[in-house]
């Protein structure tokens, strides 16, 4: 007995377990992900019961939205929240740490998922329901929520994989040849990106001995510069690939137009945004030193992405491919925020991600409606939609303006913040790129609008004659597709006209990203001397 006591006194093990009670409110941090995961599992068990699938999906997503709104209010009042799994203290247990930056995107994603679920009901094939459309959608939502809320680098990788599995299933669901083609490009490049991410994780663990984001951010300050810079570069490549930034963007336009439009909307709204989120999270909060080193590169990538993407959109004749390029242009805007990391810049980038989740999804949904009426994906064969559905033409035009960043729509405010941020830093090139992007996006979008709605008939000799191939929307389509899309677009217009809420959230998100104190404190790692791992460079106690 005595020997044991002596031994314990000599080794002096640090506290490793959480000894305080976890309240029910803390469970809100984990519940959105768990509900989505358990919901996906439940629906796959019930996959032959087709009528119950959409109902349960909508109930699950509504529950998630309510929980996330509660969590958002709680974080606004009390600061970032954290829960560490299995009662282990943070560097050992896996933390879920949520701040405004994460929860606002999670909320926007859940909203988008809800609208996409309703939208898809109009023309989902029996086969697609049987093959688990709803289950995969919930699994995708679980991956997205998990990625937005986790506070652990390796756990982030796991959620990336969950998203990849779910999106792989969703993309090949129709079983058409072009979908398999798209899935291979999508899958291969995304596997490559996650492999780079995994290599970076190995280096991170070797360098810091921890994978907890808060813990790394504490230790990154005294880390040797060389390895840190290479980790940063690897993460930039991996997440840049996920986000479809130039020059690793080719997979996105090659694959996003192949699945069902509702699935396109889900992918366009959620997947690339998780990439940009991870980029900002890891390079601003976790390893700011690495970002400083990479700044010229990030700025160059931002400029090229901003200018080349809308040019690609102008050149496209496939509607959803063109939207894919518009989406990539937005990734350039987020990179600008990463290149000028002052309060305005980061707030601008955060708001841009939020805007992009809603707007790009809505754009894909409207594109789905257009394709439904036109019966083709080729813009050259479209025309004369204005006479058939003037409402749709308004929706499309609003979204084009929002994507281009014209006031008073939602896209204007983040771009304004980004331009102000670049002005503060005197980055004229970035400002020129942002403005050129807006102009080119407006040209690409209005060109699409002119071809689809304004022109009387399809391209060629008959372009003056009224288009007779139009198939008017059925009542079912109007209620299940047009109505939810309109609600989403009204939301975009509302946030554009009344941007105060978004500005407030963006400001808090940027403050917490730029100064990791509150984030670290939430995980329970506030004071460096409480950190239980030995500091780098030390040889340990003698």
């Amino acid at each position: 007995m005595e020997e044991k006591a002596n031994y314990e006194a000599a080794v002096k093990l640090p506290v490793a377990m959480i000894d305080f009670a976890t309240g029910f409110a803390d469970w809100f941090i984990i519940l959105p992900t768990i509900i989505a995961l358990m919901g996906a599992a439940l629906l796959i068990m019930l996959r032959f019961n087709r009528s119950i699938q959409p109902i349960l999906t909508i109930i699950f997503i509504l529950t998630i939205i309510i929980i996330e709104i509660n969590l958002l209010l709680r974080i606004l009042a009390l600061g970032p929240q954290s829960m560490t799994m299995g009662k282990w203290l943070p560097p050992f247990g896996i933390s879920f740490t949520v701040d405004i930056f994460g929860i606002s995107f999670a909320l926007a994603s859940a909203l988008t998922a809800l609208i996409v679920t309703i939208y898809a009901q109009a023309d989902l094939a029996k086969r697609e329901v049987k093959y688990g459309f709803h289950s995969l959608l919930l699994l995708l939502l679980a991956g997205v929520s998990g990625a937005f809320m986790t506070g652990d680098m390796f756990n982030l990788y796991v959620w990336f994989e969950v998203m990849l599995i779910a999106s792989f299933g969703l993309i090949i669901m129709g079983g058409r040849k072009i979908q398999l083609d798209g899935a291979i490009k999508y899958g291969f490049l995304n596997f490559l990106a996650t492999s780079f991410f995994l290599i970076a994780l190995g280096l991170i663990y070797g360098l810091f001995g921890t994978l907890n984001m808060a813990d790394i951010s504490l230790k990154a300050a005294n880390a040797p510069f060389g390895p840190l810079a290479s980790i940063g570069a690897l993460l930039l490549l991996a997440f840049g690939m996920k986000a479809a930034a130039f020059p690793v963007n080719a997979w996105l336009p090659a694959s996003y137009h192949t699945p069902h439009p509702a699935v396109s909307a889900l992918f366009g709204g959620l997947l690339t945004k998780v990439g940009t989120y991870a980029l900002l999270r890891s390079l601003l909060l976790v390893m700011p030193t690495a970002r400083d080193f990479l700044e010229p590169l990030i700025a160059a990538l931002a400029v090229i992405t901003l200018i080349l993407a809308p040019l690609g959109a102008i050149a496209q004749t496939n509607l959803r491919r063109a939207i894919g390029f518009l989406l990539i242009g937005g990734i350039g805007s987020v990179l600008v925020g990463l290149a000028v990391p002052n309060l305005r810049g980061v707030a601008g980038a955060s708001i841009y991600i939020f805007h992009s989740i809603l707007t790009i999804s809505a754009l894909y949904l409207v594109a789905g409606l257009i394709e439904k009426i036109m019966g083709t994906e080729d813009v050259r064969k479209m025309g004369g939609l204005y006479s058939a559905s003037s409402w749709l033409s308004i929706l499309f035009l609003v979204l084009v303006f929002a994507v281009a960043g014209l006031p008073p729509f939602l896209g204007f405010w983040p771009k304004l913040l980004l331009i102000e941020a670049s002005l503060e830093r005197g980055e004229i090139l970035l400002i020129i790129a942002l403005l050129t992007n807006s102009l080119l996006t407006a040209i690409a979008g209005s060109r699409l609008w002119a071809h689809i709605f304004w022109r009387a008939g399809p391209e060629g000799a008959n372009s003056e004659q009224p288009n007779e191939k139009l198939q008017p929307l059925k009542t079912k389509d109007k209620w299940l597709c047009s109505a939810p899309t309109t609600i989403l677009i009204l939301l975009i217009v509302y946030f554009g006209i009344n941007p105060n809420t978004i500005f407030g959230l963006g400001r808090v998100a940027a403050l917490d990203l730029l100064n990791s104190d509150r984030y670290v404190e939430a995980t329970g790692l506030a004071k460096p001397d409480l950190v239980t791992m030995p500091q780098l460079g030390e040889e340990g106690e003698k």
Binding site: A41, M45, S135
Partner: protein
Amino acid sequence: MNTVIFRTIAPILVAIMLVFSVFVLLRGHNEPGGGFIGGLIAASSIAIYGIAAGVKEVRKALKFDPIAIAGFGVFIAAFAGTISIFYQAPYLTGIWAYFEFEGKKIALSTPLLFDIGVYFTVLGTISTIALALEEKEEKK
């Protein structure tokens, strides 16, 4: 592969493997074994039965769709973590309960429930793949 010897032995082999897989599952946690390896053993027995008796026969014997079994596993595993909500502990905290059975101390715990979830997930996923592959073989 479709010999008389194999077809006669297969059901016995399958039964032994299934019992062994449960044994491996239950002895996990503190000793070598656990849900993953147990699930793999069970899935191989399903595959063997598929080769011997044909996929149709296996699907009839399984009663449930293998992918639904995998879904059940994920559900059980995720559910195992939520039990700690009643103990004011974070998600996935292990909750243990002991009771005496014929003079032996038996431990029940949420990690065991989680492991059972893993068992079903692996069993369901691998059997789905194995049966799909065998189905292709049969069609040739």
